[in-house]
């Protein structure tokens, strides 16, 4: 792996839950609980997980739309987690976000050109001619036309709007971009176009991407490495091919087995999870996945908390499961041969 551009260490976000007449804090929702990972320069890290697992919260912390409760996000020796004032403003040029909903992510009362140009104006880049020129360039780069700048968002389709959102995020020439489910609100036929545009732009502008999604097929298509989140923790992180071919964590196995195969004659072993995602207000003890885990070993998994560990010596494949990577491998009923 080349040098990391972004280093996340023990990142946490806890939201207070208020209740009662006095609105006192009665508890904490631990949306993200001590997550650590690196993103290398120029790579795309895919981040998958169910709704409510904390992946959007994580993404929003990386662009500092949310203030982390703890931990650090090192971006070239600057800590995104604690930056403020001018430091934060400079950082905003380098770190950008592409949003999920192309309908609410554009100001309905602002012309598309002004929306895209906003970043240049805020950071005082270029005179008005230059701004106009760069907006036109950007529009063409994302596959729209110059004259679209004077139109309003409602005149565009969902896919076009998402292109505008991409243009707005990229006009400041950021180096690190968080894409929060950028295609999940789009028609399937349009998804591919936007995904391809993203990877073209990544090549052209030398972008580093964190790609958040719940669609595993989409993530496989765009990512170099993939991280799987469950209830605020990363439970497995690996090179894309390793993760899809040889998932180590039982949760990853369950997710992968849920991808539909476009061939009705093929059958496979579904790992069907029982129960719902537990409440992050009161997560299970030990391994948070143990109440739903098909291989959980009571006495171990419900007591001790697992951590990310390398699957094998010299591998970059990490998983957090007592029975697969930890000291309790011998207890794994499904892998008696290893």
């Amino acid at each position: 792996m080349t040098e990391p551009l972004v280093q996340v260490r023990n990142l946490e976000k806890h939201f207070p839950v208020r209740g009662g007449v006095l609105q006192r804090t009665t508890g904490w929702v631990k949306a993200v609980t001590g997550v650590s990972f690196d993103i290398a320069k120029g790579e795309t890290l895919g981040l998958v997980g169910e709704s409510g697992c904390g992946k959007s919260t994580l993404g929003r912390m990386l662009v500092r739309l949310l203030d982390p409760t703890g931990g650090s996000i090192l971006f070239e020796n600057v800590d995104i987690a604690t930056a403020s004032g001018n430091e934060l403003k400079t950082l905003r040029r380098d770190v950008q976000m592409i949003f999920q909903d192309p309908y609410s992510s554009l100001d309905p009362r602002t012309q598309v050109g002004s929306s895209i140009a906003e970043g240049l104006k805020i950071h005082g880049i270029g005179d008005s001619d230059e701004v106009q020129e760069r907006v036109s360039e950007m529009l063409e780069l994302v596959g729209l036309e110059r004259h679209h700048a004077s139109r309003f968002p409602h005149e565009f389709s969902g896919g076009q709007r998402q292109r505008i959102g991409i243009a707005r995020a990229l006009i400041l020439r950021p180096r690190f971009v968080v894409a929060d489910e950028p295609v999940s609100a789009l028609d399937v036929s349009v998804q591919a176009q936007v995904l391809n545009l993203l990877s073209e732009l990544q090549q052209e502008l030398d972008l580093t991407l964190l790609f958040i999604a719940h669609n595993l097929a989409v993530v496989e298509h765009v990512s170099d490495r993939v991280a799987v989140m469950y209830l605020g923790d990363i439970v497995e992180i690996a090179h894309r091919d390793d993760l899809y071919r040889e998932p180590q964590h039982p949760y990853t196995e369950a997710l992968l087995s849920a991808i539909p195969i476009p061939d009705p004659t093929l059958k496979r072993d579904r790992v069907v999870l029982v129960g719902d995602v537990p409440s992050p207000l009161n997560p299970p003890t030990g391994c948070k996945f143990h109440p739903r885990c098909p291989i959980a070993h009571l006495g171990v998994c419900d007591i001790e908390t697992p951590h990310l560990e390398y699957v094998a010596e010299g591998s970059i494949h990490e998983a957090s499961c007592h029975l697969r990577t930890g000291a309790y491998r011998h207890l794994d009923p499904s892998r008696t041969n290893t």
Partner: protein, 280 residues
Amino acid sequence: MSETLLNRRRRRWRLDARAVGLVLTVAAILIAALGALIAPFDPFDTVNTALLAPSADHLLGTDDLGRDLLSRLVAGLRVSLVVGLVVALSSMVIGGFVGLVAGSLGGRADDLLMRFAELIQILPRFFLALLVVALFGSSLVNLIVVLALTSWAVTARIMRSRVLVVKELEFVEASRAIGAGDLRIMVRSIAPNALAPIVSLVGLQFGGAILVEAGLSFLGLGDPNVVSLGQMLSRAQPFMRTAWWMAIFPGLALAMTILGVNLLADSLNRFLDPRSIGPR
């Protein structure tokens, strides 16, 4: 089939409402502005015999003191429009500002501003106006100030509720991610998108303010130095049977002005929405 018919009828009604609002409002403004051309008399001077019926000399007749009714109506309409306009605009500016700040900042500032707004809201406007007239004398300026200072609270609440909705939308987050500061986000992103419902409200408050002024004058508590439609109505009471024009014309002017402004403000809301303009 019947449904599309209903829709069509509904759309036509809306178009009509907009046109009626526009015509009535423009008419009221024109009469107030250019009234001197059609009614060249001093509204306070006795110019002819009392209680003359409408004629070519006096288009709306004369009142019980022989003053030209049209001239008085023009002067009264002017006062009404000024009261309505000043009150409505200051309600929009003060209320819009307070609502924007409260909704955007949240927390303590929000609590404080909203409790203050509630305090204002529970004051009975009409009686507060009465009190001020009793204490400080009845001048038009006093009245306008009282109405302006009491009408912003509702606007502030509505603005705040819109701001709370708008500020959670992704384009606001997008602006923040790009590096926009709180002030820029409040002014450029939130305010324009939260303003629409207030515009309709302003029409209502315009009418409300005119009515309070007319009501006070009707009770004889208006500014004695200006002509007021309410005062004209009050004078007309004993002459309802003998000089119907004294009551009918000021009443009509009052009703039509309020109706027109309300209809216009309602449809203005639709004009302000960018989704209803542009190539389609």
